[in-house]
Symmetry: C2
Subunit: 467 residues, 2 copies
């Protein structure tokens, strides 16, 4: 639905063409590409797509849209699973993927300054020679701007934190076109309101991120990865809980259930592994430290009935393993051709993980759906990928009901509706339940204060409102 | 200066007495105790002091003050070094120190729920039997509520992060008395605006913190501490930079210059140490891991001319060492009886630490002041404690000029005016310089949106405004 008055829309496109030239386009195929992410909500077409190349362009465009009340929906790589990039009120889809310069790397301070269109793969490729890496790794080729906007994390968060802990500062264009610098280059600061953290996770509703200063980490002296298989899901989950409670500083500890393993074995041609509940692990440290950590976890896994603690010592075997893990979503989709996935993203306190995860598994079994489970279980975060036939309204409705059931159990266990995918369109209904009316009203007041005309990614995060 | 209309003030006191009884007081000695912190700004008397015991009382009081436009200045232990607790516009000093219950400790999830009046010493005493600890440790007996409000850190931040990284959620009373719950119990979440981080570091200007859910850590299997002395400041600083760049996960790495060491040796009766630039170090991990870390740092220190790498292996020797470090500010003050300290708190990127610190040292020497230097140098953060004769206007003016000189150099090096003490009254003049006009205007807009009448800690953080 396009609620724009035609004149505002036409005026903005004409005026923007003056400084954007061909980089503002009405082309159907391009608008189609910008009509949704990887979610299952219905696509909605933007009126135009802008490929911005500089902060100044973003600033001029936003000033113009603000003046005329035209919606702007930021777009990175289009990998959102919660409908963040769907331009539900039409207007401009603002594609930032071309702002992908790596502007500075300060090896001594372990930080860098990048454009929002840089992907983690691009950055890590660039950094490798300097002995540095950027740890936050969602399972897609997303942009780091999108990761900031959605407060993303990934497999390394258990050790290195989420994007929230790894951003030192941002450049943000506000709704009216003003450009703000937040944060700084120091590791800590007590110097006013934390605007950086306000924009991280704000999903493009408070401003458009145009530059990011990231914290980097040294590539560890030693790395080893391992795979351990379990007779049942409970044993695997309890191994994770014991590992976290013992305080082993694992770099990664990922769980795949038997359905997800079957899908991954087929998709990623994993040899020597059975379709049973499995942990993928990685240890970072000195040679001695890594050996010590691995020994501790192997002992815990054995205690819980784990077997076949297989080591991937060389980089090639490790990369194959983690590529398979990162491709888990795609493996799930490919497992049943023609289906799409509705992905839950609950996160609970680690002590409630077994209850949340086994409860979700029981719900899935009762529902009759196929839904691989995969998770960053060291953080208490897991996903179920409910495989649905898109367009089958009855099936979609039942799948959403299953999704709600899994989320509500997590909320009842002190958890959250989203560990890392964000709210977008898909999780709006849980926000009041999770935070309460007072907190939600503060969020709405912040939105109204910073984007009084509601032009920035309207329709997202909040239900039943025009902002 | 008390800008209250007498009627509003009288009305609020009378109305509050109905539910606070004797816990709202006009007693002179008590008002005097609440007229300043540990800073050197002139004391200002509140009209009344409230000792709150419940969230409901805080909520009722704020609703009343909001209705009548009466200022409220939150007060914890009164250890602020930047004037945060001075009730510069009169009104109510809201003392939260009695809200010091430890309500829950979840050992399995390593979190706890506490009142804002709990001190870190109280909490760690309570946690010890459960093998857990709370790492954030400013050098005073401050409350954890005050630490949240000022985004505090301390000696362990280099390894465990600041208070920002160690708070999972807050309960906050807004200016109008509404009670908000922020965050949650999970380790990560992507579920709406990060209200927790908005309140952390907001210095009581956006709300009053009444409950805190903290992240805890396991007491490490092994701990060892060491002291290493250096022929000059540059060698000590360069050892720190090399240690950080090598990625040794030190738990603490603290620098004391020769003046600070002389003061600490006298105050804390440290034996066997010379008044020369010194590093205090601590290592956490497994037995083997700690030994490995210590070996790496000892080698780096030796390379830089460090000597007398003395080990404090047992808990008693370690405690003595760290007590001396925590008492450094008091040692500095006691060093010249009758003086007070003006404390700088700059933080710079680690690559600029030598320049910032040696520059500050040269400025101090040129000024003729005595000013011990002590710092959390692993984070690039250090303090100079400029010893001044309070009431000597000319001396105070010169001391503030020295403070500004040190701050401006840090800003020029990509640093911040405050690493951990906050803005309060003392650092307001640097906020625009550091963040720029656009970011400052966003901060002001947030303040206006959340506290439209400007009753919450007025006069702090922002210059030349009534909010």
């Amino acid at each position: 639905m396009n609620t724009l008055a035609p004149r505002a829309h036409d005026h903005v496109i004409t005026a923007a063409r003056a400084f954007l030239g061909e980089r503002i386009t009405l082309n159907d195929a391009i608008r189609q590409q910008h009509s949704r992410g990887e979610d299952t909500t219905p696509p909605t077409m933007p009126d135009a797509v802008v490929f911005a190349e500089t902060t100044e362009e973003v600033s001029r465009l936003l000033a113009l849209c603000h003046q005329h009340g035209v919606p702007v929906t930021p777009f990175g790589a289009g990998t959102s699973l919660e409908g963040h990039v769907n331009p539900v009120r039409g207007g401009i889809s603002l594609d930032l993927s071309r702002m992908n310069a790596i502007e500075e790397v300060n090896a001594a301070d372990m930080d860098c300054l990048i454009g929002p269109g840089v992907t983690r793969q691009q950055l890590n490729e660039y950094l490798r020679d300097q002995g540095l890496f950027f740890p936050v790794d969602p399972g897609s080729h997303c942009t780091i701007g999108g990761m900031c906007a959605t407060r993303a994390s990934g497999t390394n968060a258990v050790r290195y934190g989420t994007i929230r802990e790894n951003v030192l500062g941002l450049e943000v264009v506000l709704a009216d076109g003003r450009v703000v610098q937040t944060g700084g280059r120091t590791r800590k600061a007590a110097n006013g309101y934390d605007l950086t953290r306000l924009f991280i996770g704000s999903e493009g509703t408070l401003g458009v991120i145009t530059r990011i200063r990231l914290r980097l980490h040294g590539i560890p002296e030693a790395t080893s990865a391992a795979v351990c298989q379990f007779p049942d899901l409970a044993s695997a989950v309890n191994t994770v809980i014991a590992t976290m409670q013992l305080g082993v500083p694992v770099a990664r500890i990922e769980l795949l259930d038997e359905v997800q393993m079957a899908a991954c074995i087929a998709y990623s041609k994993l040899e020597g592994l059975a379709p049973v509940p499995t942990l993928f692990l990685e240890f970072h440290g000195t040679e001695a430290g890594v050996a010590e950590q691995a020994e501790s976890v192997e002992a815990l896994a054995t205690d819980h009935g784990g077997s076949g603690f297989a080591w991937a010592r060389d980089a090639e075997a490790r990369n194959k393993l983690w590529k398979a893990r990162h491709d888990a979503y795609w493996a799930g989709i490919a497992w049943r051709p023609g289906k799409r996935g509705i992905t839950t993203d609950v996160c609970v306190p680690i002590s409630r993980l077994a209850e949340a995860l086994l409860g979700a598994k029981a719900d899935i079994e009762a529902s009759g759906f196929e839904a691989p489970i995969v998770g960053h279980v060291g953080d208490g975060n897991f996903h179920t990928i409910i495989l649905v036939e898109e367009g089958n309204a009855e099936e979609m409705e039942r799948a959403w009901a299953l999704d709600r059931q899994i989320v509500r159990r997590a909320l009842a266990l002190g958890g959250t509706c989203s560990g890392e995918h964000g709210v977008g369109l898909g999780k709006r209904e849980f926000l009041r339940e999770e935070h309460g009316e007072a907190a939600l009203s503060v969020m709405r007041a912040l939105k109204a204060s910073m984007d009084p005309k509601g032009i920035l990614n309207p329709g997202k995060m909040f239900l039943d409102t025009n902002t």
